[in-house]
């Protein structure tokens, strides 16, 4: 959020907008790695490069495919549970909430828009919102949708671009220097504020902010 990085003005017009744009497709299409995850037990011939797990979510949406759900569950449920426990849930609550999150994935499958998010990102937002409900007993205000609303059938080119960028993002994240990656993970999972990170790691606050920003910048460059 711009407002969280600036002290007095929200009007800073940074050049960040491009990061979720759908650029750089043509260059990428020639060298996509087939993601190791997903798309194994579902017929995906009609969209071979749609991105990890998109075909499984689609299978749930179109034909309530339990095999696809099982594959998603095996991959994501243990990660969601780890996320919830790092956010402060005990094992029992994390288990229960994970089941809730995965059930929500089923009941909301028809709302997943692969042109806007990867499956991992979508599940992350569901888990985050459930964790706010369950752990903090708070409401989670969500922004209103864009005036033009979701497309009935997302444009395949947008889907391809977004899903490829996500794959690229995952790779960029894994290639970050260890120190930066750890801090990013803690900011997301540890439910730590920057000052709490400072208290826990003994790093001065300024360093942490700049390291997180540096890491995000690096990710942006990797995406550029």
């Amino acid at each position: 959020m711009c407002m969280l990085t600036s002290t007095s003005s929200a009007q800073e017009k940074s050049a960040l907008k491009a990061n979720v744009s759908y650029g750089a497709v043509t260059e990428l299409t020639t060298r996509i790695d087939t993601p190791s995850a997903g798309a194994t037990n579902v017929n995906v011939q009609d969209r071979p490069q749609a991105g990890p797990w998109v075909a499984e979510v689609d299978a749930i949406k179109t034909r309530q495919d339990k095999a696809a759900f099982r594959a998603l569950f095996q991959h994501f449920a243990p990660r969601v549970k780890a996320f919830l426990m790092k956010s402060g849930a005990n094992a029992a609550l994390a288990e229960e909430t994970t089941q809730e999150v995965m059930a929500t994935l089923w009941t909301k499958a028809h709302m997943f828009d692969p042109a806007r998010a990867s499956v991992a990102t979508w599940i992350f937002t569901i888990a985050r919102n459930r964790s706010i409900d369950a752990l903090r007993k708070q409401r989670r205000p969500e922004p209103e949708d864009l005036p033009w609303g979701p497309e009935a059938e997302p444009d395949q080119e947008d889907v391809l671009a977004l899903q490829q960028e996500s794959t690229q993002l995952a790779r960029a994240l894994s290639e970050l220097p260890e120190k930066q990656r750890v801090l990013i993970e803690r900011a997301y999972f540890g439910d730590l504020s920057h000052s709490e990170i400072a208290a826990e790691t003994g790093l001065p606050l300024g360093t942490i902010k700049s390291r997180i920003r540096l890491a995000l910048d690096r990710l942006r460059h990797a995406m550029g």
Binding site: M1, S6, P78, Q99, T104, T121, Q138
Partner: protein
């Protein structure tokens, strides 16, 4: 980023969600931060689920109906949708409390770690000079205000922290309505506002 990660107090989340409804640039950044969150999740360590967790989840699913498609359409009104949800309607639904000098406020119910209120400042009026013990986010919904040479209009957010002592003034053109979240009481420089502070819980 705190909003994307889900680590902010509810009051701040409301201001951010309302702002993102008005600012495409920040919407893009929010999606960017969420994308990073997704990548981090995918990359993360795993914690085994209990035996039978999948079956339990499938059972949970069979007991539920499919969620209806809810599109949160942009509203025509002064308040974006997330704020309307808290107020229970648009501007006309607000129950204002007078604070003197034509200034009015309405505190919205959120979790106690921070507070959020709507402020109504008549065109040209000024807020008492104050500093902050914590962070204050102010989002303009109608009109504009001037603060030390900067002008903030609809959709703009001012972030104030410990270092800033300020006297925002509503722009002359129109009454100014803001959504303001704070995680600590304000520090007023004058005695009268300090007394009023006790009464108005700011």
């Amino acid at each position: 980023m705190g909003y994307a990660a889900g680590t902010l107090p509810e009051a701040f989340n409301l201001v951010v969600a309302t702002h993102v409804s008005l600012c495409d640039e920040c919407r893009a950044r929010l999606m960017e931060f969420e994308a990073v969150g997704g990548a981090v999740l995918d990359d993360a360590a795993e914690v085994e689920l209990s035996e039978g967790a999948l079956e339990a989840t499938l059972k949970l699913i069979s007991s539920r109906a499919k969620d209806p498609i809810k599109t949160v359409w942009a509203q025509t009104g002064v308040f974006p949708k997330p704020l309307q949800d808290y107020v229970g309607g648009d501007l006309s639904a607000v129950t204002w409390r007078r604070m003197g000098g034509g200034v009015k406020q309405a505190v919205l119910p959120t979790s106690k770690d921070a507070s959020v209120r709507l402020l109504f400042i008549p065109a040209g009026a000024e807020m008492p000079d104050h500093g902050h013990a914590g962070t204050e986010l102010t989002l303009v919904l109608q009109g504009a205000f001037l603060d030390d040479g900067d002008r903030f209009a609809r959709g703009d957010i001012e972030v104030a922290n410990q270092e800033l002592e300020h006297t925002p003034i509503a722009d002359i053109g129109e009454d100014c309505i803001c959504l303001t979240a704070t995680d600590a009481p304000l520090r007023f420089s004058g005695v009268v506002p300090r007394l009023a502070q006790k009464i108005f819980r700011i």
